[in-house]
């Protein structure tokens, strides 16, 4: 059974239809990446799972339990098992608290007062490779990479089963990015964590994710193992994304598939295939609405898939 099972998740902000039915599953110990352009709804998906964004329809099963729409009081104990890593590493840390109290805050919130919080702070800092004396520092004294690691420590404090990570490496230098990904990979192996990771850096996805889903306009348009998506993607949008990945090689000859225009309005969604107007391979048939078609674990929403 999956640890996390999301079915038909829909979110509206007033007339804006941000999520139009999201389905995916994450097994224990698995890393699942959500990829897509800005505005495709990636962040809303994980916020809705964590109960931080509304979800008017659908179901979110965590460990077999329905958690969508639970009141805050019922969600609180679940937050031991589902941890969040936010996008802005410094902004997600209160500037008035020391690093030590920030990373032990989860224990206080969960009322685990019997713990030796100083010892826990030390243990967590060590786990994310930060020196113990960082416990007395404040967030403004940290670099971006160090603040990220504090975010990881906070997320791991309660030994969650699932981590929801929103752009965990955005804005980091390549060497520091490598350190953070190694840390996440290592912790995942040691603690058996499952992860949903959002990123628009496809080079990162290749190294951390077991499976990935491509989002467009609040829907999944393709899903499969990372291997399969990178080598045998079939949706034109996925191909566009993959080709828009500058290579660190001046002689790399990229067969770039240009993506035209801007994403359409979420208030008045286009008829037929929603990617049609921007799709370089659109055909007559694409005026009809494509359905989600999943075969051997490879899902696709396209009436004229590539081979």
């Amino acid at each position: 059974m999956s640890l996390l099972s999301v079915k038909g998740l829909k979110t509206n902000y007033g007339p804006v239809n941000v999520l139009a039915g999201i389905d995916f599953e994450v097994a224990a110990g698995e890393t699942y990446a959500l990829v897509g352009e800005s505005g495709s709804g990636k962040t809303t998906v994980i916020r809705a799972i964590a109960g931080l964004a509304p979800a008017q329809e659908g179901s979110v099963l965590f460990d077999g339990q329905e958690i969508r729409g639970l009141p805050e009081r019922a969600l609180r104990p679940l937050r031991k098992d589902i941890a969040m890593m936010f996008q802005d590493p410094v902004g997600s840390l209160s500037p008035r608290l020391t690093i030590g109290s920030l990373i032990t805050e989860p224990y206080r919130i969960q009322g685990m007062r019997d713990r030796d919080l100083d010892a826990e702070a030390k243990r967590l800092l060590e786990m994310v490779n930060l020196p113990a004396h960082f416990a007395s520092r404040y967030p403004y004294q940290l670099s971006g990479g160090q603040a990220r690691r504090v975010g990881v420590a906070r997320a791991l404090a309660l030994e969650p089963k699932l981590i929801l990570a929103d752009e965990p490496t955005a804005g980091l230098d390549v060497s520091v990015q490598g350190e953070l990904l190694n840390l996440l990979n290592d912790l995942r192996e040691r603690l058996g964590l499952a992860m949903v990771i959002i990123t628009h850096n496809l080079n990162v996805v290749r190294h951390v994710a077991d499976r990935m889903g491509i989002m467009y306009l609040g829907r999944l348009v393709e899903e499969g193992t990372t291997e399969e998506i990178f080598h045998k993607s079939r949706h034109p949008y996925t191909r566009c994304l993959l080709s828009a990945n500058p290579e660190p090689d001046p002689d790399a000859r990229l067969e770039r598939i240009a993506l035209k225009g801007e994403p359409p309005s979420l208030i008045r969604r286009p008829k037929g295939c929603e990617f049609r107007e921007r799709c370089p391979m659109a055909q007559e048939i694409c005026t009809q609405t494509p359905q989600w078609d999943i075969q051997k674990g490879h899902g696709i929403r396209c009436l004229a898939p590539l081979s």
Binding site: E37, H200, H207, P248
Partner: protein, 325 residues
């Protein structure tokens, strides 16, 4: 031989801080030729931003120019007064900043801002507006005439960055400085922006100084590359020489670290162990020595930025006779 447009010669810049002088830039030398795209690559804290603000002389009050020259068309900008600098900024030298969400004035329409920045031109307002619309069309904003009346919040991030490019290029500058213009954007927009920038650069023949920590973008866009580390230039050369035959261990490590380089899924990604040195308390010798796997006794002395091949320079003893021992 193409004419040199910008020459940075032995530039040294300090920040005066409570802990003493922070040596933000030391002995920076490189040049930008007319119509060329030069990429500056380096990690956070390497001095990229100090370098740009020094060229434009938009520096913080605690900045001290210790030595060197910044020659633009042969004239040392460091000797210019504020009035002379103002007449250069936005006309001969333009800049695109990192964050497109904060570049524009939120309470003025895009059209008003694009007319405003043509304040040096004597043209009639209607003509300025037409120029603005033409420029918006050139960066691929559909229906430019109508969109001039819209406000920044009505545009997406990618569009706002394209508008920033349009504004920067409107004066047909000789030098465009682009400070991480795609960092805040996602991959598809990043590609759109660099392709558009490249196209316009070819049309207008302006030189571009392109700052980025994204190696893929640098490789794709630039003719030449300057690699900076902790306030110093460690290597510079043709883009192919830098990516295919790097001569400084830092450049090599940086390229190795880019996950775009590693095609198969790796359990452990390469990193550069150690920390960037404290610039207020500089270590002696080679600046990269503490993190370098190949360091030897000779690295106790600062290696000069020396020529290896035509136009390819590196500051490392490994390229000298006798190596590091």
């Amino acid at each position: 031989m193409t004419e040199t447009l910008l020459e940075i010669d032995n530039l040294g810049v300090d920040y005066e801080t409570a802990r003493g002088d922070l040596k933000a830039l030391r002995d920076i030398s490189f040049d930008v030729k007319k119509g060329e795209i030069v990429g500056i690559v380096g990690e956070s804290g390497c001095g990229k931003s100090t370098l740009i603000s020094s060229i434009l002389k938009l520096t913080a009050p605690n900045t001290r120019f210790r030595n060197g020259e910044v020659r633009f068309k042969g004239q040392d900008l460091l000797q210019n007064n504020e009035r002379q600098m103002r007449s250069l900024r936005g006309s001969d030298i333009s800049i695109i900043f990192q964050d497109p969400m904060q570049t524009h004035n939120p309470v003025l329409s895009i059209g008003a801002q694009m007319v405003d920045i043509q304040h040096r031109s004597k043209a009639a307002k209607a003509d300025k507006r037409a120029t603005a619309a033409k420029m918006l069309a050139a960066v691929g904003i559909p229906d430019p005439e109508a969109r001039l009346d819209q406000f920044p919040h009505e545009f997406s991030g990618g569009m706002r960055q394209r508008i920033a490019i349009a504004m920067a290029l409107m004066s047909e500058p000789d030098l465009l400085i682009a400070d991480e213009p795609t960092t805040a954007l996602d991959a598809t927009l990043e590609v759109q922006i660099i392709e558009r920038l490249h196209e316009l650069q070819r049309e207008m023949h302006c030189a571009v100084l392109f700052i980025s920590h994204h190696l893929g973008v640098i490789a794709e866009l630039c003719d030449r590359v300057v690699v900076m580390y902790a306030g110093a230039v460690v290597e510079s050369g043709d883009v192919r020489a830098i990516f295919h035959d790097p001569k400084h261990p830092y450049t090599r490590r940086l390229i190795d670290c880019d996950p775009g380089h590693i095609k198969e899924r790796a359990r452990v990604l390469p990193t550069i162990p150690g920390e960037v040195p404290d610039l207020a308390n500089l270590p002696t010798g080679c600046i990269f020595r503490d993190r370098c796997e190949q360091a030897g006794p000779r690295c106790a002395a600062v290696p000069p930025l020396a020529g290896i091949a035509d136009g390819h320079n590196a500051a490392c003893w490994l390229n000298h006779k006798g190596g590091v021992s």
